[in-house]
Structures are given as C-alpha cells and as structure tokens.
Symmetry: D2
Subunit: 335 residues, 4 copies
C-alpha cells in the first residue's frame, strides 16, 4: 500500500518534495495538493495526477490523506501544523516550524497533549552521510570529549531580498539544529559579531560576512562563519576539536583534475548539489516512519530549540552583547 | 501503478535487489520469486509478501509479472534471459550475461530478432556518481583526447574459492565494461602479466596481484592492477591521462580525522560501502525504463563485448602472449 | 670572507643556531660564545672551535665579531640588544625582544637614534614557504580583499612549566607577528576567551584550549585557537577568507599511505619538523643581510608591535573584556 | 677552512651549481672554472671571483682545487671523471656518467683500482624529502614487501630537440636510479611500449607519451609513464603497492585555494620548483663528504647500473620485445 501524501504550498521547495515523493521515495505518492494560487495549482495537480484542494484545511482533514507536507509561506506553517495535529495526522514541516518561539511552544503543547509525536521539521543535515558518519565516530568516544567547533556556512551568492537577519534565521539555523544534534547538547549563550570589513559583493541591507559564537551547556565553544556572497561556491565546513584529535566534515568529491598547473576538485555550486541525498533520505525515513507509526526525525521540540537559539543570536546581533539562552523544560515526550 | 517484479535466485545478491526494490526504489514491488531451494524460498516469499514459483519459467511467463531480475547461479543466466526475451519481458541480469561469448551471442540474436531492447546487464559502475561526473567532464573535450588510463581494482581480501581466472572474469570485468563506456571505444588487444612477486596473503590457486594491459581501437593504453588481497580496503582508482590534463576518480569521503600524528580519511571496506548508491540508481532507472517502455542501461551487446574482452584476457594469461580481440559487427539495434 | 658570529646563550635554541650557522648556512661561522654556565660553555666552545667569553658584553664589543645572536634567558634580551646597538653591531634576537613593550620601546629608540636597522627579531614564520606563497598570492589581489582569518596553533603537548599566560606570550605571539606581516596591517583590538570546557590533558595552571579574537585597523576579524595539549601533533592552520575565495596554509606532506582502511598523511610531531627550513632561511638571510650591510627581517618595531598586541591579549584574558590596542607612531626608520 | 671547488662547464646547470655552492652550501666556494667558451667563461669567472682555466685538465690537476664538479657537454663527462680519479680528486658528475655502459665500466675500473670512492653521480632524487621519507617508511617493513610500483614522470613541455630516445635516457633515468635505490634491488628486464595514440602537442621525432615496464630481481613489477608534453605541469608520482598497504610520493604543496567552484593546490611548473631542495642537499652532503674524506652519494656503480638499464629500455623500444638486463658483478668497493 502506497501512502497518500498531501502537499500544501507548491513553490520551488514544494515541487522538489513532490518530485522526490513521486519519483525517488519508496512507498508513497502525492495524491493531493493545495496552494493559494488556484490556477497554477490546478494545472500542476492535473500534471501530477493529484487532487487539488482549494482549502488546505480540507486537505488536512481528508480521510484519503495519510501524511501532510507543509511547504507553504513561512507565516502559515504554525497554523497548518496545529491543524494536522488536531486531526492526528503526521506532518512534515519545512523550517521554520513557526515564526516565533511562542508559535513553536503552541505546537509542542498541542503535540504533548496528544502524547504522540506527529511533527517532523525539515532539518535535513542530520541525514547527510558526512554528519552521520561524524556523529558515529564522535559517539565512539575514541577522540575524547569535544571542546571546540569551527564551522562555516557559505553560499556563492544571495538575491537582493536576503538581508542581515536572514543570515541567522535562514542560514545559521541549519548549523544550530545540526550541531545541537551532533553534540547532544543545548546552547546556553549566543553572540553575533558583525565585522567592520565586509565584502564588496553585498548590498546595504545585508551585513556579510557575520561571525556567530555559541556555547553549549558543558562549555563547548563554537565559532560559525556565515558568508553568503563568498562567490566561489556552496561551502559547508564543520570541524570538531576533541581532546585527542579533530574530526571534520569533508565536502565529498567524485573526481579530481590536474590541468593548467592546478590540481583541483569541484566546490558544489549550491545546496542541492551538496545535500540532495540528505533531502531524499529525510523524506524516505519520514514515509517509512508513518508506515511503522513512529517517526524519529527532528521534532517540534527541536524546532522550538532552534527558534530560541536563533532568537538569541538575533538579539545579540541587534544589541552587541552576548545573550544567555533561556528555554522551557523539555517535555517527557521528547526524551 | 507499481510494477510487479519477479526475482529468480535469492542468494545474497538476489536479496539485496529484493530489499532495494521493496524499500528504496520508487514504483515497483517484488511480487514473485523463484529459487532451487524450495524450502528457504517459500519462507522468504512469505516474509516479503511475494508468490513463490517452483518453476522459474512459469514465473517468467506469468501475466502478473512486469519485469524479471536474474540473480541465479551463473550457468543459468543465459537460459532465463532467453526465456524472458521469448515472452517479451524486460529482464535485468546480473553479470555474467552468459558463461561464454557464444551464449551472449545467442541472447543478442534473440533480442535483435525482436527488434527491441529487453535485456539490461548489471554493470552498475556506469551509475556511480564519480564515473558519471568523469564522463561528463571528459565529454566536454576540455582536457583533450584520452591517451592513457591507470586503474586499480583492489579488494581487502577474498575467500579460498576465489582463484586466478576470477581476477579477470569476476573482478576486472567491471573495469572492462566501465572503461569501454567511459571511452566509448572497443578494446582491440589484451595482455595479462602475472608478476613473479606475489603477496604472502594469497593461496596456491590464486596469482595475486595481476596486471592487465588493454588497448582500444584508437590506441589508448590502459594498465589495470587487480589485487584482491590488498588488506587495506576496497580501493578503486581510475586515472585518465589526456592531452591537456589528468582526470581521476576519487573515493568519496565524508569526514577526515587528525589523531595520533595522522591526518586520515577512511578507505571503504567493501564494494557495498563504495557503490551502494550506484546499485540503487541502476535498479531505479531500470524500473523507470520499463514504465516508459524503453531501457537504456548496459545492453546484451555490452555483455557480449565484456565477454569477448575477458576471454581474450584469459587467453593471454594462460599463454603469456598479447591477444588480439575479435568481435562481431554491432547490430543496428545497439547503435 | 666568512662572517664571525658570537652567540650569547647556548641552551637548546642557542645550540640549534650554532649548528645551523656552522653546518648549513653559507658564509658565516660561530667564532665566539658566552653563557652564564662557564663550565659547560667552555667545553662547548672547545668542541665547536669558538672562543669562550665569560663576559657577554666583551663578546659584543669584540672587534673580531661581525654579528651577535641573542638566545639567552628572556629577561636579558633587552640589555644585550641595547649593548649591540651601542657598538653598531648587527644583532639577531630570539623572541621576545624584551619582556615589556617599554623595553621594546627602549630598543626602538636606541636604533632610531642610530638611524640604521641593526636588530632582527626571531619571527621565523615569515620565512616559511607556505606563508611566503600565501602572501605572494594574496598580494596579487586576485582573491580580493581579506575579510576573515581562521587560525589554529596546536602543540602535541607541553610540559608542566607551561602556564595560561604562555599560550599568548610564547605561542600566539607567532601568529601575532606572522598575520600582521601577512595582512600588512596592525591590530586594533584583542579578546581572549577561556572556554569552560577544557581538555583532560591539561593541568591546574594552564587553561587549554584558548580562543583569541583580533581585529585589524581595516576591520579584518581573526579567530585563533591555541591548543597546546592537542595530543595528535603540531598543527598550524591559517585560512584567509577573501572576497572571491579562500586561501589556506597547508601542512606540506611528503608521502601518503593507505593501510588498515585509512588513507593518511603524517601530522608533524613538533615545530622543528614543520619549520626547520624557515629557521635555516631566517639565519641565511640575516647573514646575507650583514654582508650587504642591510637587513630586512622582522625589526625592533615588529618586536614592539608584537609586544603591545600580546599585552592586550593578556589584559583581556585576565579581565574578560575586549581590549583596544594602543601603540606609538611608527618611526620613519621602519617605513 | 672552505673547500675550493672547480666547475667544468658553465651552462645553465653549471651556473646553478656555482650559485648553490657560493650562496647556499656551507663550507665551500667555487674558486676555479673551465669552459670551452673562453670569452664568456672569463667574464663569468671574474664576476664570481674565480680563476679561469682554459685547460680543464689543468684545473683538475691544480693543487688549490679540492673537488671537481663536471657539468660540461655529455660526451666529455667520462674523460674528466677519469682524469679526476687519476689525480685522486673527488668529483661530482652530472648524469650521464658516460654515454655508454662501457664508459661507466672504465670509470668503475679506474675507481676500483684506487680502492676508494671518488665519484658521485648527480642523481638528486635520493635527496628529496619525499623519497627519503618513503624509503624510511618502507624500510620499517610495516607495509610488508613491495609488489608493484606505479610511476609517472611528466614535464609540462619540451623543446624541439627533445626526441624519442631522450624519454628514456634523460627522463626515465631519474626513476631508474631512484627506484633501484628505493627498492635496493637491480632490474632484470625492461620493456618500452609506444602507444599508438599520442598527444597532439608532440612533434614527428618524439613519441609521446611512452610506457616503460621494469621488473626487479625479486619480481617487483614497475610501470612508468613518461609524458613530456603533458601541458599541466611537472608531475612526478611514485606509488609503491605493498602486501599490507600502498605508500605514495606526494607533491608537497604549501597553500590551497578555493575560488570559482574549484578547490585547488598548485602543480609545480618545472623540476626546479619541485626538486630545488634536493639539489641543495645533494651538493651540501657532497661537500660534507669531502671534508670527512668519505662520500656516500650515488656511486660510479650506480651510474653504470643506470646505464645498462636505460640501454635495455632503448633496445626494447627500438625492437619491440622485452629485454633481459645483463650486468657485471658488483665490485666489493660498492657493497
């Protein structure tokens, strides 16, 4: 039996997920879609053989839908996720889970009331083979305790709508979740430094690059460079300095070339080239989880913790001081 | 509609493919199996929810089967593939397509008579991201014409049933197909050198390592080291020396470690770790091909050409001289 | 004509330099030594065919001495260097030039009064081929302006006399000079972070690792990890993030090994293995400079600037706040 | 006391050695030169403060000369070396020691008659840090016995005087000596393959690339690609496949760059960039050897063995068959 998935929001990311579910994931089909753009969505539904629902809440409620994917406009995420919980439906929501930490808390509360995990947040880095292998290696304890992390998140370029706050909220948020998962620790302080020297390739509304410092409960220090107009490619680095050695994420390469006095490998041009397998795996395991009635991916709680951490980063950036991170007690559902 | 696949032969490779089709490939399910071991196969069929056919030819003929996977004992491949062609069924056959080149010719003739490609041979290297990217890069022509190739095929260890001929027939055969595809050229001569110096880790029936020299029609020279007890891991290398530069396959790595005065990456321990994605992609594209009624993977002709080339290698190894490779004219079906 | 060099202080570093001058450097010989340990020094002088001077100032004043190397106890550096300037002698002084910035100022003033550069400070990183090539590449401007630097200075282990302040004064001081030279900019602020999480391999008087943040006049941000019990080797890294790309120092390696499922290169065990050629080149160029009556290596002013910067780091470490760096106007002699 | 060196032949290589001895080597000076071009040599002698000898044999015989460097026209090497032996003078001779193996034999006989090593041949690879470290690692035995070697010797480009035989005699000869030294074994057979496919960047008198196969006494097989118009740089590779692992020479790099979607290190443009330190060390140790009256570098016997091996390669190339290598018994002087 193939699972019947309903997708709300069919922008670029929504269509990516539709294509993934229909053509690469095992055991599911997109059978319904909803989008505020009725005309486009109707045509698209026809193209992929799905039913179009003008009312997203009707899609969520429909008996013939086994799971919901929320890839709509960010401000609508919270409402759709709450609606899915109300109907006891599994829901995969792209980040952010909600615009504010308080919205995440609403979702956590709703889910906790059901005493069942229904929500998965789209933090796909946890499914990247590099992060997975690093975590496995760290968890053996052979390298001793982690002490410091040096990370970079670099994009080749961003468009003119990308502004200073997005460096934290849209970009660094990936590391915030991935590093919390990697270290199995929460962050207790955040500081954002806006270096005086910026790249000529930025624009007035974007401070680029930025430097983010995080500390965990046990005292691990993290420095994270966010540089979104680095020009040379999509370049994710993560080095974990431990007591007996350092482990670092490599950007997997598939060939190398020697020519014109250079010995080179390629730097990926964007996140698709780098993380496409992680996206595929993320959705496959979500589908598998629904089948087994138990999902294990990033939870609503993880979405909440990412939110409180990025909020602290933003406060630090705007005010210049280091911010202590406060968060609620973790409900037993997420232990 | 999910395709209904029948699998003949449920040894290790057969079960791998069953698992792949049922859990990772999109759009197909294994609905029937056949195997000479009735008891084991009956139980396994039950476990995976498939029908057991005692008679493999009945499975092939069954209306409810859309495609056949042949992973049975090598000597039976030819017969099952011919039977599938007879019933106009798509068939995926693990290498070797047939024990002898003449068996491959029988299949080519049967398929040519139908004027339709039905057969795909399990040469999965063509689906490896490294080979794919190398080929794309070579095809741009930026590096000029290929002149020389330096290759290695190394296994950590082999069992005591693995003997001298298998280095060509089971191991080098992968390079034989992959390099022919990479260069888009046929081989015209083969020479196998058995070096006097062997590893202490081999046994009396296995000459290890071996050196294979191949030349293509245009005059490209290839040296291929086959070393199946190299002890340190599964290590596939392929460097193509061109007029303006060299391009080499890298073994993708996902993390690196600095510890104990070493800076290291992992060498995979076996072919599964190295080529698992290629196997997944091979089957996915075969399934997609059946749906579109057009398959594009390695053909019966490719199986035939691999066979004549490895036969020439074996003749050279047994007789010590360089062997010219003769082959039939390519039927238009495979152009 | 070989230059006649007098060496004051024949501890490990002094003897290293003696060996270097006598056996690897072209154009000079150690003809005199002085050391407070008369007995040992007398025997050593005999061994290397040099004259022993009980009075270091007499050695400095001696007509038959063309250049002085000061490798004595740190608190004596300032006095010997001033004495050499008084006698118009070229003097190579190991870091630190003086214990306090004020001592460096005394030397700068004495040298400025002579209107001639006589002093070279032992910052050998500038002579490392890696730093030299990076600087040449940066100076072409192809990568655009430098924006951020990520650096590490790691030692395998240190002895029990190495304490918290030494991480700045003896270790980070190398980066302080090398980065100032690399960027051709002075530092304007310093901050030292002592992470709560430390390695189990440190001792009560040493906070290990430490994180140092520096900013230059133009606003380039530098983070420098100092970790002196990292266990795995001597590991110097320096990545310069520019507007169009990143350039990084590599630890040159001479061979790589694949064995036991690892593909590794060696990490050097100590600074000698890593920087021995830089030390040789530093002394060779100093000798060549004396011959041409013009020395170009790190100057007394560079010694002074290193001192004010490390002092600021120490103040930040002890007080927890970011420290603005103040320094005198640069005399024209050093332009 | 500085050694007084006489240099015969002041072409490019001769001047390189003069510069090396006068400016980088410790303990020697070039005090005399000789060259057939009287005018140029007189001026050069004046420039470097050396005496010009019109008669090279007078230079060799002169009491005030402690060691001879022969960098003259290849056909004159043998005569000058024999003359130096006659006068019991240490002589450093650039390769080839003699044009024919018989000439090498004359030198070996003359030296053996003196029962003292006086001759060093300019095989500088043995002094390269990479080869040295590989040899040390191999000699530990940790990787087991060497079984196969894969080597490349690539030049960016050669001039129009460089013809087919030079690929063996001027280029491969470096590997011939270095690998014999690395393995501590002599070669017993040689085969040269001229691939039908050549680079467009060669000219009618040069077959490029070429493939050389060598076997040692114990049965180690070596494949060596010589490709002297490879366009992309000077690229020396040497991988030794052993029973438990592979060790390979790396081209040391000093920085890496990420820019324009590439992550690259530099490939050296010529042998000077790659092996300059090896040349320096070669001459330094020769000078040190003269001082201690015992030289240890590549001997006349090594020159002879290189000669018989390259002769066998040439015979194979011209005739197409594999050639067995015959050589004299090694005199006890060279044990």
């Amino acid at each position: 039996m193939e699972l019947r998935i309903g997708v709300i929001g069919i922008g670029a990311m929504g269509r990516d997920h539709v294509d993934r579910i229909n053509n690469r994931v095992n055991g599911a089909k997109v059978s319904a879609i909803s989008d505020i753009n009725v005309e486009v969505a109707t045509a698209y539904a026809k193209e992929i053989g799905a039913t179009f629902y003008e009312d997203a809440e009707a899609l969520i409620a429909a008996d013939e839908i086994d799971g919901i994917v929320v890839t709509s406009w960010d401000p609508t995420h919270e409402g759709y996720v709450l609606e899915a919980i109300k109907h006891d439906k599994y829901v995969f929501c792209e980040k952010p889970l909600a615009l504010e930490a308080s919205g995440c808390t609403n979702i956590v509360n709703a889910e906790t009331a059901k005493q069942k995990r229904l929500v998965q947040v789209g933090f796909m880095r946890r499914y990247d083979r590099g992060y997975e292998e690093m975590k496995r290696e760290l968890d053996t304890g052979v390298l001793g305790e982690p002490l410091l992390l040096h990370c970079t998140h670099r994009n080749e370029t961003v468009d003119s709508k990308y502004d200073t706050p997005m460096a934290v909220e849209n970009t660094a948020v990936h590391e915030v979740d991935a590093l919390r998962w990697l270290l199995q620790e929460d962050f207790v302080s955040a500081q954002v430094i806006l270096p005086k020297k910026q790249t000529q390739y930025t624009h007035p509304k974007l401070h680029d690059p930025q430097l983010i410092l995080l500390q965990t409960e046990s005292g691990v220090c993290i420095d994270l460079e966010v540089f979104v107009n680095c020009q040379f490619g999509y370049d994710i680095n993560c080095k974990v300095v431990c007591e007996k050695g350092e482990i670092g994420l490599t950007n997997p390469t598939y060939f190398n070339v020697k020519t014109e006095q250079k010995d080179y490998t390629r730097v990926p041009s964007d996140w698709k080239e780098r993380f496409i397998s992680a996206y595929d795996k993320e959705l496959q395991l979500w589908v598998d989880g629904i089948k087994h009635d138990e999902i294990t991916g990033p939870s609503a709680w993880d979405g909440y913790m990412a939110s409180v951490t990025t909020n602290a980063c933003s406060e630090s950036r705007d005010n210049g001081y280091k911010v202590e991170i406060k968060f609620d007690e973790k409900p037993s559902l997420y232990q």
